[in-house]
Amino acid sequence: MNEELAFGWRPVDEDTSSGLDFLGLASPIEGILDAETIGITNATERARYFSIVPWIHWKYAKQGGEGSRKDQRNFTIGYEQLLAYANVASVESSGKQMTGIIRRDECERHWKEQLADLPLRGDAIKDTPSPLDAALYGPSLRRFNLLARTEDGDACCRAGRIIAEELDKTFSLLEGKRTLLTAETVKRSTVQVWAEYLSLDKPIKEEKRLLRSLLFSADEFDTGSIPSRVSSMLLLLSLAVESPEPFTSSELEVWLATGARPDSTEFIPDSRLETSWTRWRILAFLKFLRHASELSFAAVHRFVRVSATASSFFATAESAAQQLSHELAAAGDDAERLPTCYRDLTEKFDQSTQYVGWEPEESSPECMLRHAIKLVAWCHSLLRSPENRPLLEDHAATIGSQVDADLRGWFEQLELLDDVSTIDALRWLTVDRGIARHFQVAARKLAQHDTFRLIEDENGVHATEKCPVANIAIRIGAMLSLMSDVGLLKREPNGYVASASAAGWLKKQLIRLS
């Protein structure tokens, strides 16, 4: 017979989150990065975590006797704390800036409290953040074969042992070496002694050599084939060697997109690095095109919010995007106004044109959208040049085709814009590449409670509180930092420069590649 199964108010889904990949454009970039930079992530920016963390685990194993997972964790936490204190002390004494110190906030707070005994272990010390975290160095330590996860805990592998034994030659001479094994606190003065030896900026000479060897090795110190990570770092190094001035990772990404050397002439990579050059150029374009898409969507989002405060509502997100596009097309003075035809916009950008920049000049919806379409036109004009055709023929240019986010797909669509008005191009960017994408991505992520930034309902379209645009990192910053830690680059206040040994190292490694 008939049966009533439900009747009343439906439970409300209260969980929300706000991931930064709201257009689903990150996966092809991350996929290619995983293939090109094995062992390195955006978070693995300090080389000494690849030596000191294995030393901590080696040290634990060398204590002998019996332990437990908990016991091991307790041991390692103490040293993670000590490492953070030492670097905080080092920063204080040197007056230099330092990035990438794990547990910095907590340790800096204790340090500034001027405590004579600083907490190392015990209930007051949290388990995270730890270098072993999956979001930090954990997977990389394992991928470099420094540590391995076993049933009993984290074990130190051969490569880790080699580095650890080298480090221990110095560390074993330091003050408090015995008490630090189990102590719940450490004296401030002891930290100051260790600061000289644990500073992330100052690896010991032989340690630096081993770390350099590790970063440029295959498995465990030159025992295997050359991974793409090595080619990637050598490519960046060859660009750095060509730059007489300090440069930033952002500038390097622009060189990749334009295919130019730091002096704006064409960069021709060593033949052994051509594949990496192509892949990294593809990555740079995917980054800029992703940014343009997210910026255009954020412009519509802001437009909906701004309009709502003026009691102006839109039936659909598409109608809001169209209204914004029309207002933008008519806005600004003659110099600022966008041309009527999209083609005229792309013709403004030939190879010699300066990069349009990452951030828009202002945060108004019009300014954001104008910047986004200029960024698209800049990429388009670069991609359509005959010299860049090989990029589109590379395997990596098809990565992301499943989600219509591959570079070749981008280019196909950009070419279709050639005959359309700027208004239509804006519609394509905001609606086809923005809103439509977002709705699909958000719906797919519903299981993870991702949030719709724009919500269409019977009362029209509404925007959520915020729509932050990600500053997309493609691991170049991490690689430059690592190479700086192992002495191939030097950190300057306004970027990196190649060290004196960089050119020689590059040459030697290129020979090794062949």
Partner: protein
């Protein structure tokens, strides 16, 4: 769910929990606003996985317009389900879910649209029923017919829609033929009216109706200013009318925690009994007092004490409205007016229907994923009342591009535009099993890196089912539910006209269409996977050891050098190839054999996908050779003279059949795979097998073989799939030449038999000397000296008068004296060069080389 259902609405998950794996025949939804992405995730994918082959959504023109605005990324429209706009003088506003299964229907009624907010975040009311009563089912089927007719999905006008009994105290009321209020049974002694309604009409006519009908009753109206307007007139409506608005919660980290209240609930409370209306109807004249809107509500009679409990809105507290709460409501900026258009692609033709009030000539544009795939001029040929229509041929290339949701647009010379989704009949008409296959495929290809062992195994198992169903498709027109037997009782009423609009390509072409689509998608996924894996392999790593935890995430880093194929995947792959080989062996026509040859590339791709995903090259050599060799034999077995003692299914093809199939891409790919497999066998197998391989190759040679480059590419891929290094890969064009130099087994057997005949004949005449006899005997015995000596001995013992008799393959007795042959002799004679002298009549028996 059943225990806690009272005073709780339902969500999509509850529907599928209630279905409990049952495969619905049809699923029919109505909504006002519409988000294709959420609907696809929440309803379409689960329905497809259950094998529901007929899904339709009717929406207001606003919802239809919303769907078109996200056309570049929408999924499933026109391929997995049909979407139709229903223009009315008011709003097409009802939110119904009517899911018809064998013997029952799930009926969902509510206030939430098929949008993210409607399905998840708003405060919405809803009710769900399982209807088994035959009378109710008949009325519900009639309601579906009526709505289908409104949407142009059916020509069945149905009958007048009356309130449909759902349970003893509940009825489904729609405004199709009469206003909602006029069909309700209200208590005679209404003393309190509690209402939650996001919208009210501007003239407050519905509120006035209630006040005038029950002048003594108090009216408490809850309204969310985020939706409807709240003006002075409403606040001052009368002393017995109280207006409430939600209390705004304190902001917590920038988030406001209360949901928007979109639920519509009206409780007419008497002293003991109350009437509750729950559903889509607002307290407005078009919704409740007219038939301008299409609305649907559940009317339920319950004790008054329970009715009051229903007013507890989740996460919302109410307060009395003040003048500060006044709003003007939302006044939308107008949206671009686009005329509706219906389009349908079937095989190589597109049919377009648009309003007769628009011009007759237009530029037609077909778009898929935001890319224009066709532009052409279209002229209407036929006017039919209020519509006109035209059709046009479309090329194979365009068809290839329409592999997912696509839109058609007509641009008229006066600047007006008509736009709509294309129903791709070839996709909509496919069997539920194939739809399920595509949903599984999409789950894999949308994220090949992260998909689980279960996803891949399910997909491969579905390929196995396709092999069974493909045979049926190849032979017959698809049935409505091809996974049902004819005897299966199906009590669901079928709208006959739906059989006309289902359409779809039938027969072998239909089957191949999907093999092609599957192949294209698989190749994309393999392409991505191989890119990612190449980077990992260079580092001498695999992502994870699947045997440890087959469904774990990728953060499990294995230190093993190479991956292993998960056992379940290895099993289902073996089973897939076993079934393919056995299906090919059982073929009884060229059409079915052609279908299976076309299926070969997809089976190989499934193996390639798995091997690439789990980086398992070095562990699969046996998997490929053992499994694919069976398929090669099933296709190319040269005949009864061979050790197979049978003919492969390729021998079923006449010359006409071969000419027909040679130019079919999937078939050509299948033949290329077979040739590659044979050449690899030729290269890797011992020389003794070469004659047999040559015979199989001769069978294959009757078909059009790939060019040298394509051969190298296909064979190279197969070579790599077998775990062999590309550096060891032979030149397959050279192998082709080498195989031609080998003498086939069949030819050798015929030579042996010819020599035997000559030996027997010459023994009668005595024309040969002993040496010549011996040479002939050795040839007859295929070079076996012992057998040759035995043969000569038998001839001599018979006084050179021996008779040679060929025993038919299915015979177990001597054809001349009829004495049954011993089992061991029967076995011995299976060899085409073996002989035996009949112990009864003395004749020399050999196996016939013909059927």
């Amino acid at each position: 769910m059943k225990e806690s259902s009272f005073r709780k609405g339902y969500g999509p998950e509850d529907v599928f929990e209630e279905l409990n794996g049952e495969s619905p025949n049809t699923a029919f939804f109505s909504t006002f606003t519409f988000s294709p992405a959420v609907f696809h995730e929440k309803y379409v994918l689960p329905l497809l996985r259950l094998g529901c082959g007929n899904i339709a959504v009717l929406t207001d023109p606003l919802g239809y317009s919303q769907s078109l605005s996200v056309a570049s990324f929408a999924e499933g429209i026109g391929t997995d389900y049909r979407l139709r706009s229903v223009p009315l003088s008011g709003a097409f506003h009802a939110k119904l879910a009517l899911i018809r299964c064998r013997g029952f229907m799930l009926v969902g009624v509510g206030s939430g649209n098929l949008t993210a907010s409607g399905l998840l975040t708003n405060a919405e009311v809803s009710a769900l029923y399982r209807i088994q009563n035959v009378d109710s089912l008949t009325q519900l089927d009639n309601l579906v017919s009526r709505l289908s007719m409104l949407a142009g999905l059916s020509s069945n006008p149905g009958i007048r829609s009356l309130p449909i009994p759902l349970t003893e105290d509940s009825r489904l009321i729609t405004s199709l033929d009469d206003p909602i209020f006029s069909q309700c049974n209200f208590p005679t002694d209404v003393e309190l009216v509690e209402i939650v309604s996001p919208f009210v009409d501007e003239q407050l006519l519905a509120l006035a109706y209630i006040r005038d009908r029950w002048p003594e009753a108090r009216i408490r109206l809850r309204i969310d200013p985020a939706f409807g307007f709240l003006n002075e007139a409403l606040l001052e409506f009368g002393s017995n009318v109280e207006i409430f608005v939600p209390k705004e919660p304190v902001e917590n980290n920038g988030k406001k925690c209360r949901p928007l209240v979109h639920g519509k609930l009206m409780c007419f409370i008497g002293a003991e009994l109350s009437t509750v209306l729950l559903g889509s109807a607002n307290l407005s004249r078009p919704a409740s007092m007219s038939t301008e809107n299409f609305e649907a509500v559940v009317e339920r009679s319950i004790p008054s004490t329970e009715a009051k409990q229903l007013l507890k809105t989740p996460n919302v507290q109410w307060r009395k409205a003040t003048r500060e709460d006044r709003t003007a409501g939302s006044k939308f900026t107008s949206i671009q007016s686009v005329a509706p258009l219906n389009a349908r692609v079937s095989e190589h033709r597109i049919e377009v229907t648009w309003s007769a009030t628009l011009p007759t000539m237009a530029i037609l544009k077909l778009s898929r994923r935001g890319r224009c795939v066709l532009t052409s001029t279209l002229q209407s040929l036929e006017k039919n009342g209020r519509t006109q229509s035209a059709s046009s041929e479309i090329s194979d290339e365009v068809i290839q591009n329409l592999d997912g949701p696509a839109t058609a647009e007509l641009n008229f010379s006066d600047g007006r535009i008509a736009r709509g989704w294309i129903d791709i009949a070839d996709r909509l008409g496919i069997t539920p099993a194939l739809k399920r296959q595509f949903s599984l495929l999409n789950a894999i290809i949308s994220d090949p890196e992260e998909c689980t062992v279960k996803d891949v195994a399910d997909f491969i198992e579905q390929l196995q089912r396709n092999l069974q169903q493909g045979r049926r498709m190849a032979m017959t027109r698809p049935s409505r539910r091809s996974d049902e037997s004819d005897e299966a009782a199906d009590d669901a009423l079928i709208d006959r006209s739906s059989l006309l609009i289902e359409g779809g390509v039938s027969g072998i072409d239909g089957a191949l269409l999907f093999e092609r689509l599957i192949r294209r998608k698989m190749n994309q996924a393999i392409n991505e996977l191989s890119f990612f894996r190449s980077g990992l392999r260079t580092a001498g790593r695999t992502l994870k050891d699947p045997s440890a935890d087959p469904d774990s995430s990728n953060d499990q880093i294995s230190t093993t050098e190479k991956g292993r194929l998960p056992p379940r995947i290895a099993t289902v792959l073996s089973e897939l190839f076993r079934q393919l080989a056995s299906a090919i062996e059982e073929c009884d026509s060229a059409a079915t054999a052609a279908y299976y040859v076309c299926a070969i590339p997809n089976c190989i791709d499934a193996m390639r996908f798995a091997i690439t995903k789990w980086s398992a090259e070095l562990h699969v050599t046996d998997l490929l050779s053992q499994n694919f060799d069976k398929v090669i034999s099933a296709c190319c077995a040269p005949g009864v003279r061979s050790v197979f003692q049978r003919s492969g299914s390729l021998k079923l093809f006449s010359e006409d059949d071969r000419n027909r199939w040679n130019d079919t891409a999937m078939f050509a790919d299948g033949i290329a795979a077979l040739e590659s497999g044979l050449l690899i066998d030729f290269h890797t197998e011992q020389k003794q097998r070469h004659p047999l391989i040559r015979d199989m190759y001769d069978v294959l040679k009757l078909f059009k073989l790939p060019g040298p480059e394509e051969l190298q590419s296909v064979a190279g891929a197969l070579w790599k799939l077998a775990g062999r290094g590309l550096e060891d890969s032979p030149n397959f064009a050279d192998l082709r030449q080498q195989i031609e130099t080998v003498r086939g087994e069949e030819s050798a057997i015929l030579g042996c038999r010819e020599a035997l005949h000559q030996l027997v004949l010459t023994s009668h005449s005595g024309s040969l000397d002993r040496q010549q006899q011996l040479a002939l005997a050795r040839t007859a015995a295929n070079g076996n000296i012992g057998d040759a000596d035995l043969l000569l001995t038998l001839i001599r013992e018979s006084g050179n008068r021996i008779c040679l008799v060929e025993v038919p393959i299915d015979e177990n007795a001597c054809p001349k004296c009829d004495i049954t042959l011993p089992g061991s002799v029967q076995n011995q004679l299976k060899s085409p060069t073996a002989f035996w002298r009949c112990s009864n009549c003395g004749r020399l028996l050999v196996r016939s080389l013909e059927l």
